[in-house]
Symmetry: C2
């Protein structure tokens, strides 16, 4: 049994509704992988900071006292001057694509897929995927990202990197219908295997998209998902062009495809959804208890996709929305702080309403929403007793955050990933004083550097898929 105490830290509190707040001077008590209590610092029966009493409801007072009694054996992290936030969640990414960072710029979505990414991906090998995933895990952990929701090839290698690094992950092994049946079956078997691998790893089924996987394969996937209690993570209605093409070619929207194939009934994480129409919302509402959408707006602007995710409509339909980066071959970073800020900015722009997507709503989306997108709504995303101890400690002392009139504003609009000091996942300190404790960063970077050229080599010709939605 391991015990950790984060002493004297300000804690971001994200209620289900209403205003978020930051409670000053709290102690966060952790036992093994869980938060057991959050109590006012140095209080011995004092009334404490507003709101703490209710948070501490789950805690066992005797246990907390016991922990205090053996403080010498506890890992005590000094939180003075820091803000504890729920570890960030990257709710949609392709982590190994960090290996192609900056290698496909200033391209239309068609050229990005057909002239760069899918031709480059003929170069994928298990080793290269693992090296990329290790780099991605390092980047994310150092930035306070404690969970990522991934969709990629050789997912067993990504799992290995995640387990080694200490990060939490939900992994969907990608497949196209253009693959052989054996290829599809292998991806599905990988999902099955991953879901039993490690307490920090969950797995989802990963059909690529409604335009690269046939209705028949989607139906098979949905049946399997229901039978084996697996989630489905896929791309759908990424752009309005895709929705129009689907209507033109099949007479239905991508969301209607997900409905008629049973994918929505089985439960799905939909990546992007910028092309979700008003008429799709009642369908999604029917499955709101098992549907989530991940929004990655930097990508929508960069690829000039024309729309961003219609979050207002989705929220009105009760569908949880999370924040993601997509792969670094287009987002260029796996920086979820950047993604959160872009969600707030682009949503205000989309709705022509500066009073919409408030600080509190943005932080709720980034925490509770992203936890739901990861399929972990009851386990992560909120700092309270009984939740996983996935925590990022953020230092707002640097000039770009000062003075702090409102720490919530700092977290949404001025913080940098480099302000993250210490990170815990499942109670383990994986970043301490801005350094990884779990991996040798020099080695991770050297490996990535030595293999980087192999990933962007177009000399072999061919492509793993063609984009023509």
């Amino acid at each position: 049994m391991s015990r950790t105490l984060i002493r004297n830290v300000a804690v971001l509190v994200v209620p289900e509704h209403g205003e978020c707040r930051v409670d000053e001077a709290q102690d966060v008590h952790i036992q093994d992988n869980l938060i057991t209590a959050i109590t006012p610092t140095a209080s011995t029966g004092a009334t404490g900071v507003a709101g703490v009493a209710e948070l501490a409801g789950v805690a066992e007072p005797a246990e907390v006292a016991g922990a205090a009694g053996v403080r010498g054996e506890m890992d005590v992290v000094d939180g003075t001057g820091l803000v504890a936030v729920p570890g960030l969640v990257n709710s949609h990414t392709h982590s190994p694509m960090v290996m192609m960072r900056g290698a496909a710029e200033d391209l239309s979505i068609e050229d990005w897929f057909n002239r760069r990414i899918w031709p480059m991906e003929v170069n994928l090998t298990p080793e290269r995927v693992r090296v990329g995933a290790r780099l991605a895990c390092a980047e994310m952990l150092l930035a306070g990202v404690t969970t990522f929701v991934d969709h990629y090839f050789h997912a067993d290698q990504i799992a290995a990197a995640a387990i080694e690094s200490g990060i939490r992950a939900d992994l969907a092994p990608t497949y196209f219908s253009s693959a052989s049946q054996d290829g599809i079956d292998a991806a599905i078997d990988t999902t099955r295997g991953l879901s039993r691998l490690h307490p920090r790893i969950t797995a989802s089924l990963g059909p690529h998209a409604t335009y690269t996987v046939t209705d028949e394969d989607l139906k098979r996937t949905a049946d399997l998902a229901r039978a084996e209690s697996l989630r489905i993570h896929l791309h759908a209605a990424e752009t309005d062009d895709q929705t129009q093409a689907s209507l033109d070619n099949h007479g239905v929207t991508p969301i209607q495809v997900l409905n008629r194939t049973g994918v929505l009934d089985a439960g799905a994480l939909i990546a992007h959804g910028c092309g979700i129409h008003e008429s799709d919302l009642p369908i999604l509402q029917r499955y709101a208890d098992r549907t989530t959408v991940a929004s990655c707006p930097k990508v929508y602007l960069k690829l000039a996709m024309g729309e961003v995710t219609p979050i207002k409509g989705l929220q009105a339909a009760g569908v949880p929305v999370g924040v993601g980066t997509d792969g670094a071959a287009v987002h260029n970073t796996l920086d979820v702080w950047e993604a959160i800020r872009m969600v707030a900015l682009t949503q205000k722009q989309r709705e022509h309403d500066a009073e919409w997507m408030t600080l509190s709503d943005t932080l709720r989306l980034a925490t509770r929403g992203s936890a739901a997108a990861a399929g972990l709504a009851d386990h992560i995303g909120v700092l309270e007793p009984g939740r996983q101890a996935d925590i990022a400690l953020v230092d707002l002392a640097a000039p770009h955050n000062q003075p702090v009139h409102d720490p919530r504003a700092a977290l949404v609009y001025s913080v940098r990933a480099s302000d993250v000091v210490t990170v815990l996942v499942a109670g383990q300190v994986v970043v301490r004083d801005r350094s990884l404790t779990t991996m040798d960063l020099t080695e991770v970077l050297a490996d990535a550097k030595s293999l980087a050229h192999t990933l962007v080599d177009l000399s072999k010709g061919g492509a793993i898929q063609h984009y023509a939605p």
Copy 2:
């Protein structure tokens, strides 16, 4: 006479047209405030890296040799593994507003002005402005911003902070027509005084905007500007709503107002210009040799202004465009890297064209464009002999930039302000190994913290102005 040598650094080269590039392994030779030569590292008559020969054209070979001969007396900065970029320019800001960072969130533009900012600004005092400006200079220098173009009250205090910190600044003392004639005259006198104060300080006339300064006062300002060879820096056509209101109330666009009052003829930096109409472009084209526009897109999204600056049209009209942050009371940071990225992203979105605002075009805008916006087109913005030695050294070694397939992509889409290691302004090392050399940061932060509450105090009532364009 002081000499500095930046050894073995990669140099960002930004030509007037065509592709930017990064030349590896260069030595940047600096004498007093100027770059005197850029030569391949450790070359003794070797042919060197492509493009360097032409850059070194201005250099005196004898001087360079002489410098090498007295290396012991030179400040030698090791640039190994770093990229030298032209010091960034914040081409429109209100620096002391860092004191209100995070104090006016989730508000419409009307409420932002009328319920928060202008009521808060009744609290301005010279001391508070100076404390804010010192914090702003610290934030900017640490992020590699070497010049800022400011528009604010008590500009003499801002000049003092700029001089102390070592940053370069163009300062426009703000005035409204609602002020007394004495108030306007005092602002104009401040401009005159500042323009003779220090080699790193230039000054502009600062009428606030077309909707807060009368045509008569704009005419007086334009006459004065022509007579005394001063530039005018003002807000105009910030939103399309403002342009519509101007058309409804006066039958002319804000740009037409600038034209008929002589402001364009005198030479102007126009902040924002999101409401510039197609029909305004031929007017601006006529004064393209003395007109520039500053674009601060994070603000346009955050305030849901509906439009961003029409950069494509302005560039077609030959009008230089720079990048800025606006004040931190709405942008929340003075991070020009963030502003540059937002320009690229929002311009691709605006034009529905992912192939527009390329890496090279974005970097050109951020360097040559912003130098023009600062009125310093011939002095800063490019690293070449004869230019001011305003240089930021950036480290791309951290995981979020790796691997580096294209350093230009890293500079636009993945770099963080915290990657800036060393900064020179006019040949002086003002940031070394991520620390300010010119000011005591602890003191700067403590001063800001102690006065922060005084700036956001709304108890006095009143406002310095009312927003009703």
